[in-house]
Symmetry: C2
Subunit: 134 residues, 2 copies
DNA sequence: TCATTACTTTAGAAGTCCATCATATAACGG
DNA sequence: CCGTTATATGATGGACTTCTAAAGTAATGA
């Protein structure tokens, strides 16, 4: 079992930052909108997320900080786009994982035993409606 | 531009939680070790991460809480494994993204202009040695 | 220059995260 | 039952995150 060399820590830190950028619902929504459309203005993102301007701006700053998006000002407007296509891939995989998770959770609530392990089923599935998944 | 229906919020919350589980270097390392080996004991994870027992335990609790791993006790030992294969996929995509990011960053430091946008290049690349990527 | 639009940053409160230290719990053999 | 091993949980302080409201900055046309 190889150890965790301290030399790798910065790389893991950068990777963790990528996931940090994705770890808020509004920011996921923003990235999904950007995955759908090449570039989007802040105003459009405000509408697509239902967030107030300053809140959204701070979320966008996080996404910029962690290299998930790039911004370009053209006149009065600022356009955002995904920094790398792999960001969209992360969303796609997460979607698939979520579907599995929901499936597993509903199975458990229906009385079927968990696949393996003794993990306690999450209650997230119970609170989650079968809304259309992206 | 479709809005962010409140009905979807719980689903986004669950998705955000998945990413939250991934947003710490030690937890990434744990998941990578689990992606390599079907199941691993806590002791082995302690060695592979260089973390003290209670710190690791708290990280493992986060991974359990967000449905990224499952635990199974057998006698004195507890074995951990990935809850879904898509977790490994997330790590794979992130690795590819990181490689792109590092490449972009080193290009910028070498004096080439950023691909698009006016985003400020991260200083992460400068701090990051070209250690072997997983 | 001024007013307006679009967007960002600041400040503060409340909540969350993380590492460390201490303690608790589960399993097992003597 | 007791001692030991393996692992989990609790408490705490400091750092970080998120939302709201206010203020600041950039661009533009009159």
């Amino acid at each position: 079992m190889d150890r965790f060399p301290a030399a790798d820590a910065p790389l893991y830190e950068v990777k963790a930052n990528l996931f940090k950028g994705l770890s808020h619902p509004v920011r996921i929504r923003v990235l999904e909108l950007l995955a759908d459309t090449a570039e989007v203005t802040v105003t459009e993102l405000m509408q697509g997320t239902n967030q107030e301007a300053s809140n959204l701006s701070q979320h966008l700053a996080v996404l910029r900080r962690y290299n998930l998006v790039v911004a370009q000002r053209r006149g009065v407007q600022v356009f955002y786009r995904l920094a790398y296509p792999q960001v969209a891939d992360l969303l796609t995989v997460a979607r698939s994982l979520l579907q599995q998770l929901l499936h597993t959770t509903t199975q458990q609530l229906a009385g079927f035993s968990p696949p393996a392990g003794e993990s306690v089923p999450s209650t997230a599935g119970a609170a989650v409606k079968e809304a259309p998944l992206r």
